[in-house]
């Protein structure tokens, strides 16, 4: 499999993104619509902090993240941009 691919492996098990977005998990905890929105806005979903349980990211969190970035990024999480 290619290095950038994070595709289903040998069994019908989930794709496992290689990057870790939080300590306890290996999944980006974001609802599908938020993941799509982040892509549309050209944003790495892993950089958005979610307001839900376990930091689950919803579309509103993505919008708020963009808002903060527009306002100078002061409130953005201290994560190195990709």
């Amino acid at each position: 499999r290619s290095a950038q691919a994070a595709l289903p492996t040998a069994s019908p098990a989930p794709a496992v993104p290689e990057r870790e977005s939080r300590v306890t998990g290996i999944r980006v905890l974001a609802v599908p619509a938020a993941r799509q929105l982040a892509r549309e806005l050209g944003l790495d979903i892993a950089l958005v902090s979610g307001s839900g349980p376990n930091g689950r990211v919803r579309p509103l969190d993505v919008h708020q993240h963009m808002e903060r970035q527009r306002n100078g990024g002061a409130a953005a999480r201290p994560v190195a941009p990709t």
Binding site: R1, S2, Q4, A5, A6, L7, P8, T9, A10, S11, P12, A13, P14, A15, V16, P17, T24, G25, I26, R27, L29, A30, V31, P32, R35, Q36, R39, E40, G42, G52, P53, N54, R56
Partner: protein, 468 residues
């Protein structure tokens, strides 16, 4: 390739679920689309896969239901079975669906090109005797049954999944399924319900590879109870048609012991391999992996960014809904959208009765990923709805991360298990916790209450079982 305008914005090769989803979505997004198909639209799935098996499974289950009706005083005599009508009914459903796809192509202005596609260069493809150019190309050529040395498929006595779909008259008295995967079990279930004595042999120590070990055990128990003989660590070395019978040499791969057994029909269902022959991939600068797949990234792009591969040809699991999702993603990317195949979980189903259905991580996979795991199990035997459906074998098992309560996987053996996957899949994609499921009202009396109760069981708060 010249600088002349291209014939199409997008050429899709193959009109199986991956291909026709790609073609239709691209057309919805305004692209000028053609789809090349050498056989029937609908691919393996509609013509000789998902759909005809489900039709036969329904027929088999109707037979089984009539037998169980005696329990509530409804006594049926054995029905007469018109096999040619059964095959015709099944074929009619296939025709309706493939005709539907053709109609959708017309309505969405997708040009259907008839013939085998073969690359000329990275933007040019020969289809039959036509040559067409396209800005983007999606390869969706699917897969075909893997052969097994020593068992020559004649589609009459020794069949692959395609031959097995043609129900013979009479129903074979003794049936052997070589391969204890999803396809093997679906056919075993069909033939068993329609009257065959069925034996399944599997090389590996476990049937249904990829599914949760507990679920597989429960599923195997239910199948055995229905009379299907399941033998693991066993292989078929050879099969010889003698008269109207097939003599099969069967070997226990642990002891090396060999026996010869006689059957009336033998199904070879030992896997599928990606199909790229005749495509002339090299002309487009593409290569396949050691296992024959075309490598892709999350945007379904191959090594050439404007050429995509989706479905069975692009990797495991070889499932129609994976092909569909990938087809949509590739079409959207070709249309300039930022889509990705970012699914958390791809469900799997064995459409027997009870069904085995799962999505997400098995308990073992979750542990292997380093999760600290809790599970919750609720047996179908404690479900009122399952009792009224005379189908109390099975359970719902939930795999959850300890601490975060994050749902990692759901494994179901039971009636309508595949219908319960909707909730389970959505829960995984939404990063739901077991509490999210447990706090959601589930209608009573439904099978879905077993999902609720399994979530409660994670917290030792199920109501209808004693939590330990």
């Amino acid at each position: 390739m010249t600088n002349a305008p291209m014939d199409y914005d997008l050429l899709v090769i193959g009109a199986g679920p991956g291909g026709y989803h790609a073609a239709i979505r691209a057309a919805q997004l305004g692209l000028k689309v053609a789809c090349a198909e050498l056989g029937a639209v609908g691919g393996v799935c509609l013509n000789i896969g998902c759909i005809p098996t489900k039709a036969l499974l329904h027929a088999g289950e109707t037979m089984a239901a009539s037998r169980h009706a005696g329990e509530f005083g409804m006594n049926f005599a054995a029905p007469s079975l018109d096999i040619s009508k059964l095959n015709g009914w099944k074929d009619g459903i296939v025709k309706k669906l493939t005709g539907g796809v053709s109609g959708l192509f017309r309505a969405n202005k997708v040009t259907h090109l008839v013939g085998q596609a073969s690359f000329v260069d990275a933007h040019t493809v020969q289809v039959g005797d036509k040559t067409v150019t396209a800005k983007s190309i999606i390869i969706a050529t699917g897969s075909e049954p893997a052969a097994l040395k020593g068992l020559d498929v004649d589609q009459k006595f020794i069949v692959d999944s395609t031959g097995a779909l043609d129900m013979p008259d009479p129903i074979p008295a003794r049936m052997l399924c070589v391969g204890g995967g999803v396809i093997g079990f679906e056919f075993a279930h069909i033939y068993n319900n329609l009257g065959s004595k069925v034996k399944i042999i599997e090389f590996l120590p476990n049937i249904i590879p990829g599914a949760d070990a507990d679920a597989v055990k429960e599923f195997g128990k239910a199948m055995s109870k229905q009379g299907i003989e399941i033998v693991t660590r066993t292989k078929a070395n050879s099969a010889k048609v003698v008269g109207n019978e097939v003599q099969v040499e069967i070997e226990n791969v642990e002891t090396g012991e060999k026996t010869t057994e006689t059957f009336d029909r033998v199904l070879v269902a030992v896997g599928r391999r990606p199909r790229t022959h005749g495509l002339n991939l090299e002309a487009a600068g593409l290569h396949v992996t050691e296992r024959g797949f075309i490598e892709v990234n999350r945007k379904m792009q191959t090594a050439a960014a404007h050429i995509f591969a989706v479905g069975d040809v692009a990797g495991n699991p070889m499932l129609a809904h994976k092909a569909m999702k990938e087809g949509l993603v590739a079409a959207e990317v070709a249309a300039g959208k930022p889509s990705e195949q970012d699914a958390v979980a791809i469900p799997g189903v064995v459409y027997t009765s009870p069904e085995l259905a799962w999505v997400g991580l098995t308990e073992q996979e979750a542990k292997d990923h380093g999760y600290k795991v809790k599970t919750g199990v609720f047996p179908m035997s404690a479900s009122g709805r399952a009792m009224t459906l005379q189908s109390t074998d099975g359970f719902v098992k939930m795999v959850v991360e300890e601490g975060s309560d994050l749902l990692l996987g759901v494994h179901i053996v039971g009636p309508h298990a595949s219908d319960m996957l909707g909730e389970a899949s959505l829960a995984l994609e939404m990063a739901a916790t077991a509490s999210d499921v447990a706090l959601t009202i589930h209608a009573h009396p439904t099978l879905g209450e077993a999902v609720l109760e399994a979530a409660e069981a994670v917290h030792k708060q199920a109501i209808h079982i004693i939590n330990r």
